[in-house]
Every structure is written in structure tokens, then in C-alpha cells.
């Protein structure tokens, strides 16, 4: 809405709307009329935000939305010559119309204007001096029809904040814009900033064009800060909206920006103890509603609003390297980038869930693996214990044979010693003869030692010890252990070993036990066979991946009643057998990843076959060569 024709005050802008002029008479009767006087035109962030919030808050509190007429008294509205023009304009607006039910001023200049002209305009209309700095009220007490929602803007506290956050600050550049309002504030602040003069130098950017202000702010000396009070118009009289001023100032300034009003937080200031414009709007709306409802202005006395809790912009703290440890206790930090959690809560939860499930699975698998290893360890220990017991039983059965076998070299040694003594006694000993006898005694002693070692190895407790070994050596050692028993039982053995190397990974002692068991089992099976037919064949066959060792006998064959339970413990057909030999044999072979099978031969007797995996590791024979039996 434009000013009335012929009024001649172009700088007075009527930005409000007289709403519902053509609306129904019923609506006009019930809608309260509010005259809203703004200190400055649109573009001033504090005034704009206050006005917007106040109207929203007011409508929320009223049953019928108010008709609000907004009039800007202008930046020159303090004592400037245009004040009478504004006065005339307002008066003309209400000619022939109902007077406003309430006058609300926004900001200091509008409050001063209203107090100056209210008696002439609407002496009976209650007036709410809203969002007015206490300084604008001066010493003049509130009149009968006046009440105020004042603010105590403590700008010295902004300087305190600067020094707390940036203790090294030496200069503060104050941006106030130009004009009468700027002059007012410069006068006011110089007094309150007096106490900082021993630490700080204040430079007032009040007489510069806007571009010059920007240029200077871009090249401030070190240890500087900028205090933005307001702008409005520059030294040339050009008006600038806060938005533009702040955007450009923030972009170009080489020192941090500070201000005292909450509306600038987020627009580029670091933050600090800020006056809350939102709170002023809410308090003012409360007071306005009470006045519209008929409350006497004198009954409404609102304590002046103080600055609120310190609030800071995280982005500016980061930009200027201000640690949060310097913030006053209880400070709030806004605009902090959302954490990973806040940004990707669902994703993070899902990921955490997946990781948790995976972790549980891993823990479960590790537990399972540990349990399996424990079980394997126990199994090995049990195998070793059972094998030890079985081996001792076997070797016990061979005791007489062992004695006889050991008796051969001992007999030779005794005989040789006796012969040597006789020769010497008879004076028939020559050095060569004696030397030969002693050499024979020595070799027979070695032979006896080997026999003892072989048997002692088999009798000793033995944990599973897997190494690369030659299966043929194992077979020779096994046959040496039972050679005498075999001869005593008149069993003739044929050994038919493959010419190919037969290298496996295994435990030599346990595999010797396997073959001793199978050979003795074969000899037992041939106990009733006529001596001339007690033939046994031990053969090996080396295939691509496995090696087979067969022990073939001419015995009674496998009895049908133990078919399927041949390798089961305590299953035996022998009168004095415990039935653990073959069970241990299979357990040992199983531990080697092999198999053991048995079948009857077509011509009689049985064949036991042990199949073991060949080793693919480099051949390194750990077992010794077969020793003489």
C-alpha cells in the first residue's frame, strides 16, 4: 500500500496491509484492529523476525485473527523532519474508520515516535512498546496507556565473549551502518565499552560506504574481531538489507564476526550471549493479547528481557580455530554436522546389526573350533593311551620271542668270549684271531642294542607324532619285531614291496603297531594251519594318491559271526584275546586319514589292507633304515 497522494514522504513506506476492508461487517466488528509501527523498513533481520513471529504468536492467541496495519516510521524516525509526515499519514489512514484497539511499536525508534505522537493520534489507545532496548525508554516513565516489553541488550558482554573465545584480540571493528541510529548506538556503546580500553582498540565503521566497509573487513590486522551491531544505510545513504550485508561480510572478512542478537546466529557470527528475538516476540504477543482483552496497560509490567544462554555456531568455531573448551560453561553449540549416527542411523544400525551377527557367528565358530580342537586333542590323547595299552599287550605277547631274539646275539657274545679265553689259555690265540673275535662281539652287542631299542620304542608311551616317513621302513621294522615269533610259529613270510617310493605323513611307532597287529593277527589265524602251509605275504602297492599295504594269510579266514564288527573293540574269536588289537588298528589308521579293510581270500585265509594317503610334501625320511633282525 502506498502513501496517500500528495503526502510527499517517499521514505515512509506503508508495508502493512489494511486487511479485510471490504470484508463482511460481521467480521469487521469482531476482528481487533492493531496498528504496528516498525522502526525500520523490511530488510532488518531483528525487526523482520520479530514482526513475523509476533503476528503468528498473536493470531495463535486470539480467537479471531487481528487486522494488523504495519507502518514503518523510517530510519530517520527519531527526530528527523519526516516524523510529522508519518504522523499525518497515520492519522489520514484512520479518518472515518474505527481507531486501532492497540498500538504496537517494534524497536527503539518506533517507540520514541509513538511516545511523541500517541497523544495526538490515539490518546485512548493502549500502546505496547515491544522489543525496545531499555536505552530508548530513557528516564521517561511509562504512561497510563503504555506498557513495554523491553530488552537489555548487553553489548559489553559480547566484547567479554570475544575476549574469552579469542583472548589475543587487540582490535574490535564495530559495524553500525550510518545515520541517526548508528550515532545513537555509538554514543551508547562507547560508554559501556570504556572498561575494555586498556586491552582493546575499538574502530567504528560508521562513516564508510558499504563496499569500503567490506574492503577493510577483508584486510583487518591480526588479532581482530568484528562486532556487527546493525547496518541499515551506509555513509552514502544507501540502504542495505541485513541478509546481503551479512552474506558479503561473512564471505570477505578475515576476522570472526560477533553480534548480540539471536537472529544473526547461523548467518555468520561466532555466537555468544545473545538476545532472543523469538522470546521477545512471544512475550510481546502475550502482553498484546492481554491488552486487547481489556487489561489496563499499567497492570502489565514485564521485566526487561536479558540476554539468554550462550549459543555458538560450530562452523564458525571451526573456521576460526576456537576450541570448545573456551566456551562459557553451559553453552550450546549449534550447526554441528550430524554425526555418522544421526546421518545414517538406519544404515549404521543395520551395519552394527550385521557386524554383531557376524561377531556372534565368529565367536560361535571360534568356540566350536576350540571345542573341536579340544575334542581332537582329547581324542588324540585317548588314541595314544589306547594305542599304548594295546601295544604293551602286544609286546607282552612277544616277551618270550624278545628274550629268544635277544638271546641270539648274547649267546654269540658269550661263546665268542669263551672261545677267546680258551684260545688264550691254550696259547693258541693270535692277534688276528683275537681281533676278529672282539669285532664279532662288538657287532653282536650292536645287534642286541638294536633289538632292545626296537622293543623299548614300542613299549614306551607315545603321543601322536606325525612326520614324513617311508612306509617300507615301517614295514621292515614291524617284521623285525615279530621275526622270531614268526619263526617260532613256523610261519614263512614273503615280503613283496613296491619298487616305488612309499612316502606318507604318519606316526612311525603307531603304524608299526598297526602292521605288527596285522602280522600277529595273521599268525594267530594260521595257528591251526599245517606248518608247511603257514604262508604269509606282506605286499605294498603304490598308487597315484594312496599306498596300500596288504597282509595276506592262509589261515581260517574271517568268521561270518563277526562280519561287520571285525574292528569293534572287544570283539574276538580268540580264547585269550581282548579284541582290541584290530580296533586300535582301525583307530590309528583313521587318525592317519586312511582306511583298513579285510576280506576272505578265494583260496582260503584272509587279507587285510591298509590304505594311506601318500604325502605330497618333500621327501625327508625321518625314520632310520631297516635294521638287521
Amino acid at each position: 500500500m502506498k502513501a496517500g497522494p500528495g503526502r510527499g514522504f517517499p521514505r515512509v513506506a506503508l508495508t502493512g496491509l489494511l486487511l479485510l476492508a471490504a470484508a463482511s461487517s460481521e467480521a469487521q466488528q469482531v476482528a481487533p484492529q492493531v496498528l504496528l509501527l516498525q522502526s525500520v523498513d523490511r530488510g532488518n533481520l531483528p525487526v523482520d523476525q520479530f514482526t513475523g513471529n509476533f503476528r503468528v504468536e498473536l493470531d495463535q492467541r486470539l480467537e479471531t485473527p487481528a487486522n494488523v496495519v504495519q507502518v514503518v516510521v523510517g530510519p530517520t524516525g527519531l527526530i528527523g523532519p519526516s516524523e510529522p509526515a508519518v504522523f499525518d499519514f497515520i492519522r489520514s489512514m484512520f479518518v472515518g474508520r474505527p481507531k486501532p484497539d492497540l498500538i504496537v511499536t517494534v524497536g527503539g525508534p518506533a517507540a520514541v515516535f509513538a511516545r511523541n505522537y500517541r497523544q495526538q493520534l490515539f490518546p485512548d489507545t493502549p500502546t505496547l512498546l515491544a522489543s525496545v532496548d531499555q536505552r530508548y525508554l530513557g528516564d521517561a516513565p511509562l504512561g497510563q496507556n503504555e506498557t513495554a516489553v523491553a530488552a537489555v541488550n548487553d553489548y559489553a558482554r559480547v566484547i567479554d565473549d570475544i575476549l574469552q573465545l579469542l583472548p589475543q584480540t587487540r582490535q574490535v571493528f564495530v559495524v553500525t551502518g550510518s545515520g541517526q541510529i548508528a550515532e545513537f548506538w555509538q554514543r551508547e556503546l562507547q560508554d559501556s565499552f570504556q572498561r575494555f580500553h586498556d586491552r582493546l582498540t575499538f574502530v567504528w565503521f560508521d562513516d564508510l560506504p558499504f563496499q569500503e566497509t567490506l574492503r577493510r573487513c577483508a584486510s583487518l590486522p591480526d588479532n581482530s574481531a568484528i562486532f556487527y551491531l546493525r547496518f541499515g544505510t551506509d555513509a552514502t545513504g544507501a540502504a542495505y538489507a541485513d541478509d546481503r550485508v551479512f552474506t558479503e561480510l561473512h564471505a570477505r572478512a578475515n576476522a570472526p564476526l560477533f553480534a548480540g542478537l539471536s537472529v544473526y546466529l547461523g548467518a555468520g557470527i561466532v555466537g555468544g550471549s545473545l538476545m532472543s528475538i523469538d522470546e521477545l516476540a512471544r512475550t510481546s504477543a502475550d502482553a498484546a493479547v492481554r491488552l486487547l482483552n481489556g487489561a489496563a496497560p499499567t497492570s502489565i509490567r514485564v521485566p526487561p528481557q536479558l540476554v539468554g544462554q550462550s549459543v555458538f555456531d560450530w562452523r564458525e568455531l571451526e573456521r576460526w580455530g576456537i576450541p570448545e573448551s573456551r566456551l562459557p560453561p553451559g553453552s550450546m553449540v549449534r550447526y554441528r554436522p550430524p554425526s555418522l549416527w544421526q546421518q545414517h542411523r538406519v544404515t549404521v544400525l543395520s551395519a552394527v546389526g550385521v557386524v554383531a551377527v557376524q561377531s556372534l557367528l565368529i565367536v560361535g565358530l571360534l568356540h566350536q573350533r576350540r571345542a573341536r580342537r579340544r575334542a581332537e586333542l582329547h581324542s588324540r590323547e585317548h588314541l595314544a593311551l589306547a594305542a599304548d595299552a594295546s601295544r604293551r599287550q602286544t609286546m607282552s605277547a612277544l616277551t618270550s620271542s624278545i628274550a629268544h631274539e635277544l638271546g641270539q646275539p648274547l649267546t654269540s657274545m658269550i661263546n665268542n668270549a669263551q672261545a677267546g679265553r680258551m684260545m688264550i689259555t691254550a696259547n693258541r690265540a693270535t692277534p688276528d684271531t683275537v681281533c676278529e673275535i672282539l669285532s664279532d662281539i662288538e657287532s653282536e652287542g650292536v645287534q642286541a642294542t638294536q633289538i632292545i631299542d626296537r622293543h623299548r620304542t614300542m613299549l614306551r608311551g607315545h603321543p601322536l607324532d606325525m612326520k614324513t616317513i617311508d612306509l617300507h621302513v615301517v614295514i621292515h621294522e614291524s617284521l623285525a619285531l615279530v621275526a622270531h615269533d614268526m619263526r617260532a610259529r613256523q610261519v614263512e613270510a614273503t615280503v613283496n614291496l613296491s619298487s616305488n617310493p612309499c612316502i606318507i605323513t604318519g606316526d612311525q611307532v603307531l603304524l608299526q603297531q598297526v602292521f605288527v597287529n596285522l602280522v600277529m593277527n595273521a599268525m594267530d589265524a594260521m595257528a591251526e594251519t599245517p606248518p608247511a602251509r603257514r604262508r604269509m605275504t606282506i605286499s605294498t602297492e603304490v598308487r597315484a594318491a594312496v599306498a596300500e599295504v596288504s597282509v595276506r594269510d592262509a589261515g581260517t579266514g574271517l568268521p561270518a559271526q563277526i562280519d561287520g564288527t571285525l574292528f569293534t573293540p572287544f570283539v574276538t574269536t580268540k580264547a585269550h584275546g581282548l579284541g582290541i588289537g584290530l580296533a586300535i588298528t582301525r583307530t590309528i589308521v583313521d587318525a592317519h586319514g586312511g582306511t583298513v579293510d579285510a576280506h576272505n581270500n578265494p583260496e582260503g585265509g584272509a587279507t587285510f589292507t591298509v590304505t594311506l594317503r601318500r604325502s605330497d610334501r618333500p621327501v625327508k625320511i625321518l625314520a632310520g633304515p631297516p635294521s638287521a633282525a
Binding site: S400, A403, H404, G407, Q408, P409, L410, T411, S412, M413, I414, N415, N416, Q418, A419, G420, M422, M423, A426, R428, T433, I437, D440, S443, E444, Q447, H484, R487, A488, Q490, E492, P531
Partner: protein, 131 residues
Amino acid sequence: MQHEVIGQYLPKRPRVLIAEDHTGVAKSVCRVLALDCEVVGTIADGSAVLEAAQRLEPDVIVVDLNLPHVHGLEVCRQIKQVKPEAKIIIFSAMNEPDVTQRSFEVGASAFVTKGTGDLLSTIKRLCDDRG
């Protein structure tokens, strides 16, 4: 197996045939008997003893029990069937009573346990009995 005859000391030394498959034992027995006996041969295979006993006419035959192919007791039994006068000594490391008993049952004249050093004295005793 024929071993070296180390010496011929006595004019009327007993002729001894040794049936022993263990080379070392056979050789050491030969040494012990060399001064007082004539070792006419050593045989390692049980199946060859009877033929050697007939061919070499030994005064005493020393027979190991565990001979290959034919057991020592069987060898003893076969020799006694053909040559009842043969003096046979069972020479074994197994000195269990039942083995000794069975040795005498098949005609052995003596049983000498290996490693006791009694073989020469036993041969002498048997030959003296004969003489």
C-alpha cells in the same frame, strides 16, 4: 653253511654237526668247539640237517629249535628215526620245561640253553658216555 675249522687239538675229537640258522651264533659255537671238537659242518636250514647228518657221520648234532622250514624238534625226530644212535643236543634260548620235555621225547640226548657256556662240556660228556 660251512665255517672255518679253527683248530684240531685232540686226536680223538668228537665230530660235531651244527644246525643253527643264526650266523653269529653258529660262528661263535664253531670257535668254542674248535679246540676240542671237529666241526664237520654247520647247517642253517632245517630241511637239510637230516641229509647232512647221514652224509657227514657226526658224533654229536647240535640242533637249534627255530630252524627255518623244519622245526628243530622235527629235525631231531627225523634223525633219530634214521640214526637212532645219533647224539643230538637241542640248543635253544627257550628253556621252558615243556620245551625241554618235548626235546627228550623226540630223542634228544641233551638240552643246552644258549648263553650258558655249557655246550662244550655237554658234548664232551656225551662223547665220554659213548666211549
